[in-house]
Amino acid sequence: MRAMRVDWRAWLVRGAALWALLRLPAVSPPLIVPGPPHAVQSAHAAVCAHTRLTDEVEEWKIQRSLVMVREMGAPWIVEYFPWAYYEGARGDFNFSHADTVIEHAEAQGLTVIARLGLAPAWARPKPDAQQTTDTYLDAAHYADFANYVSKFVARYEGRVKYVIIWNEPNLSLEWGYRPVDPAGYVAMLKLAYAAAKEANPEVQVLAGALAPTLEPDGSPWGLNDLTYLQRLYAAGFARYYDVLAVHAYGLGFAPDEPPAPEVLNFRRVELARQIMEANGDGDKPVMITESGWNDSPRWSRAVKPGVRAEYTIGSYAWAEAHWPYVKAVCTWAFRFPAPLYTYGDYYAFVSPDFTPRAVYDAVQQWTGNGK
């Protein structure tokens, strides 16, 4: 039997190679860097895009989206920062994705309006007791949500100045498929507002963000946004927000189409404003955090792509000329990470592969960034 000889030099080389291999990710420079800071060049300061970077995994796509927003001439973005994604287990926060988005937005010179909502599974009933969606949050967990708001606001103090509390609570599907509850929303907002202000007194809290709808009282699907807004005020809403967030979709109407309570169009904003003023809140500004037109070839509420481009620019121009209280008009949606396979895809400014659509080119031209 031959005696085994250990070749120490060979093992040393192998060990060194393994160590170098393991160290490689740590010492390699990052592939994507935010780059030097940019400033948005725009002839129209209120232009804003609602981005959808939440489900975007690849950092270069986050960066590319935000570069294209800047190049379109939009100084603002609205972006989701879902509670469910960042506090997957109670007290276990992981903001790495949010850090990436905010870092790249800053590098592009964009002002971020952060939309906070969507409850994690741990803050909802156990599935074997009750099936719920991530829009379900009962009063027992309002404080948990407020804690998330506090953590988010504190982390991005000086970098994120605007936060929106929840989304479209006047729709049943956005309220956990339960009957909508204006007083319940105000109860949640009260805690979230206090938490946000305690974390950073300078932060501006946006609230409302109601879906334009004509659903009557008792509908299982929601409640008329104007009715709901008035009920918010009756429940003490005015004390718990700084800026009213409004959703103003044009559907088939031109942006200058006059408003009427029974019509859903862009100038419905003026009816919401009347309710603000009637409740003594006329000094507070408004931000349109969702708006836009759809150019699906088949959806009954869509318009032609060329008309969509014209109406979209018209909406910015209308707000600029007639609504001094409106600080931003955020059009839904800049780009989806993947196709939705529905008419929703036809709200996008650019396709998932970053191909600009007609509306992108038109807005870019209008803001003075045309090539």
Binding site: L173, P305, Y341
Partner: protein
């Protein structure tokens, strides 16, 4: 003792065990089925009520819309009624905005979704899908007699392609013009004008969504659906909750039976004309 006799004797000795094992296995399979059925709350509900409730967003003609009297109508509505009938059920419909369709399944508000709903494997945790029953994606229309074999993008070399300005077809035509030599994209004010350009000989082909193309082809026999664009396909299917495994199986069986006996094709021809009637997906479980 020869080997076959040996096997026979062994088998005889083992027979009681084989029988016992078969009985146990059968009971196990039956129990699995019972447990499976019990876990499928939607299936239990529809069987008990004799009614299956479909969530649908009735803003998408000709698949689902409301007629002048507020009744649900459209291709999907006809299909849902036919599927329900094959299961011995009555179909009812609830109008739900598109964003809320899957949630309505998750919380058990509705039993199924039929709403020009494209199969999305990434939603598999929430929803299960039947095989597709229609492809509404992008198609290439040419003059009759034109043969497009293989990749439509390669066929487009040296051709003029019309599409509605700003549409998916327009974006694709522009993309092809960058990738393939000699592709000339022509933007038309709407899809009808793009298709008409082909009929008039001003373009070699038009890129349009399938339903628009089918409507146009019905009135223009000189044109033909030359090819589907695979990367822009939009396969529609019925969706159920991911927990509704029995309901999914039953709906799939019914859909496959409709494809096999031609009744699904009849329905497609009724709503989309002869060009829309072709069998796109062979029936499968």
């Amino acid at each position: 003792m020869n080997s076959s006799l040996h096997s026979f004797h062994s088998l005889t000795r083992l027979r009681p065990w084989i029988v016992a094992a078969s009985v146990v296995a059968s009971l196990f399979i039956v129990s699995l089925f019972i447990v499976h059925s019990r876990q499928d709350a939607a299936w239990a509900r529809v069987k008990q009520r004799g009614v299956i409730t479909f969530a649908t967003d009735p803003t998408f003609a000709p698949f689902e819309l409301l007629d002048g009297e507020g009744n649900f109508t459209g291709f999907d509505i006809d299909l849902a009624r036919a599927l329900a009938a094959r299961l011995g059920l009555k179909a009812e419909f609830e109008a739900v905005s598109y964003d809320g369709l899957i949630g309505a399944l998750v919380v058990g508000r509705d039993d199924a979704v039929i709403s020009a709903f494209v199969i999305q494997p990434e939603r598999g945790k929430e929803a299960g899908f039947t095989p597709p029953y229609f492809d509404a994606g992008l198609v290439l229309v040419t003059r009759a007699g034109t043969t497009v074999t293989g990749d439509p993008q390669q066929w487009a070399a040296g051709k003029t392609l019309a599409a509605e300005y700003g549409s998916t077809g327009d974006a694709l035509a522009r993309k092809w013009s960058r990738l393939v030599a000699g592709v000339t994209p022509v933007a038309a004010p709407d899809a009808g004008a793009a298709l008409q350009a082909v009929a008039d000989g001003q373009a070699d082909g038009a890129l349009a969504d399938a339903v628009t193309a089918f409507e146009f082809l019905a009135a223009h026999p000189g044109l033909t659906l030359a090819a589907r664009i695979p990367e822009e396909s939009a396969p529609y299917a019925v969706a159920v909750s991911a927990r509704s495994t029995v309901l999914l199986r039953e709906l799939t069986r019914a859909l496959n039976a409709m494809e096999a006996d031609g009744s699904l094709e009849e329905l497609r021809v009724k709503w989309f004309g002869e060009a829309g009637g072709e069998v796109i997906y062979p029936a499968s479980e």
